[in-house]
């Protein structure tokens, strides 16, 4: 078996909100995992592989084997570690395990509640980073350093950044599940008029921290054909990491093109070009990161991302509809499981069951990234 012989058969997203005081991380994680298994038309005892976060209490926090008692059976495969239990990375690891014959049905996901205060923009790592935090650096200015490098080199404008934000936020405005549902619509001028956080990022250029969960279930393509939903195969995958998160100064010259090799690998595996992808579900902690990814994925040349988004390419009715759910900017950024929500949206689009449905979507990319362009993970999905 290869990666493409594995399918995503179940998805679940919990409620997402800036704060969920009535929920716990464990409650959200369990709703997510059990919800995705139910969505797949499977029983918890069918699941023998787990790359899902276990926040506790009970079991042992951080240990995926804690899920055995929830699923009611011993496990054949686990992956521990927060970043492995979410999104594209979780999908590729679980798919690799299934295709290698290590397990038959795997679940990826988790949840988060009780961490963020009201109105907080997304912050960086929780631990203190010696040569980063001391300068008053956190995720918004650290990403800003990369964005500023792109603007300086290529003349990318604040208006072009704001175009990304307005476009994706206006998608989220129409998504009932979105944290920012009903907010907006926003114009480029609205984004530019919002308070400056760290040049070039205005408040509306960046996402806000929220809480919630999500999960995915994967199994073999053969088994997937007997399950209720259209079969969505993992056609390709890749990841790329520049080093430990936020340890070295992020700048365009070192990380600006991070993701090129991962996406070349993933698209090559899928036998597709970026231009053949119908819908994109990309990491958007800020407006610039979408411009960078347009270039990294090969949808436009390096340096052309600004004009490319200004021409409407990423709009719902554009050539490359991006983040129809509203992305992190308007749907939800909830810690690590926002990575899973990228895959959930891609799967819903390919099932033809998304809120802002792209007509006849047959191929999708779901991508995660972060740490100021320090890492990039993507999966290419297709209805088969």
């Amino acid at each position: 078996m290869a990666l493409r012989d594995v399918a995503i058969v179940g998805v679940h997203a919990t409620e997402q909100a800036r704060q969920l005081p009535h929920r716990t991380s464990l409650d959200l994680a369990q709703e997510s995992v059990l919800g995705a298994i139910a969505d797949a038309g499977l029983d918890p005892r069918d699941v023998d592989g787990v790359a899902a976060d276990w926040p506790g209490p009970g079991g042992r926090p951080g240990e995926a084997a804690s899920w055995a008692r929830v699923l009611g059976r011993p496990l054949n495969w686990v992956s521990d570690g927060l970043l492995d239990a979410a999104g594209a990375r979780g999908v590729m690891k679980a798919a690799a395990a299934i295709s290698a014959g290590l397990c038959d049905v795997a679940v990826v996901g988790g949840g988060l509640a009780g961490r963020f205060g009201p109105g907080q923009t997304v912050n960086g790592a929780e631990d203190y980073i010696e040569f980063t935090d001391v300068w008053g650096a956190y995720v918004v200015p650290l990403f800003a350093l990369v964005a500023q490098g792109h603007m300086h080199r290529f003349g990318t404008s604040a208006e072009q950044l704001a175009t990304v934000s307005a476009t994706i936020r206006n998608n989220g405005s129409k998504n009932p599940e979105a944290v920012m549902c009903g907010k907006g619509p926003y114009t480029v001028d609205d984004v530019l008029a919002s308070p400056m956080l760290a040049t070039p990022f205005h408040l509306l250029d960046v996402c806000i921290a929220a809480e919630g969960g999500g999960a995915l279930v994967l199994t073999t393509l053969d088994r997937a054909r007997d399950l209720p939903h259209p079969t969505i195969a993992v056609l390709g995958a890749g990841m790329e990491l520049s080093g430990a998160a936020y340890a070295s100064p992020p700048q365009y010259s070192s990380v600006g093109r991070l993701g090129v090799s991962a996406s070349t690998r993933a698209l090559g595996m899928a036998g597709l070009t970026a231009q053949q992808i119908d819908v994109l579900s990309l990491y958007d902690p800020n407006s610039f990161e979408i411009i960078r990814q347009m270039e990294v994925l090969g949808l436009c040349e390096e340096g052309e991302g600004g004009p490319f988004v200004e021409d409407g390419n990423i709009a719902l009715d554009g050539k490359y509809p991006t983040n129809p759910d509203g992305g992190c900017l308007a749907y939800a950024w909830n810690g690590t499981q926002q990575m899973t929500l990228k895959v959930v949206e891609a799967v819903r689009q390919l099932r033809g069951a998304a809120v802002n449905q792209v007509p006849d979507a047959e191929t999708a990319i779901a991508a995660n990234a972060g740490s100021a362009a320090g890492h990039y993970e993507l999966v290419v999905l297709g209805r088969v």
Partner: protein, 141 residues
């Protein structure tokens, strides 16, 4: 304004001791001559453990910057400038730019080392515009 300072590690203690004496110490590999930052156990160029701190000349160039208007904590007075400075020795470090109007900062500008003394006796190596590089512009406080 006092900010939370790092707990020095076995790799960085010499850096912070030097900084307290207003010297910028950067790792330099005894095997291949590479200057690098931040400190790490093995030289990132050749893998050697035989590196030591040398004193930087303190001259550098801004390769990227951002003017921060929303601080992560009340310890930082806004606006302030975070910059990546490429030292003349060839390595880059994250730092702050001081003694300058944030609006006047630009990529490529020459900067010189200065220090922000901290209440605990330590000091932070930061940078200010090199007055010699912009003879037409008076240094702004």
């Amino acid at each position: 304004m006092s900010r939370r300072l790092p707990v020095p590690t076995e790799l960085s203690s010499a850096f912070w001791i030097s900084a307290a004496g207003h010297r910028l110490a950067i790792p330099c590999c005894g095997n291949c001559g590479e200057h690098f930052f931040p400190p790490e156990r093995l030289c990132p160029a050749c893998g050697s453990t035989s590196w030591g701190y040398v004193e930087s000349t303190g001259s550098g160039t801004v390769t990227s910057y951002t003017v921060v208007h929303r601080a992560p904590s009340p310890d930082f007075e806004v606006p302030y400038v975070i910059a990546v400075v490429e030292l003349d020795e060839g390595c880059s470090m994250l730092t702050n730019l001081v003694h300058t109007d944030p609006e006047s900062v630009s990529t490529g500008m020459s900067v010189e080392l200065t220090f922000l003394d901290q209440p605990d006796g330590r000091a932070l190596p930061v940078f200010a515009p090199d007055p010699g590089a912009h003879p037409d512009e008076p240094e702004k406080g």
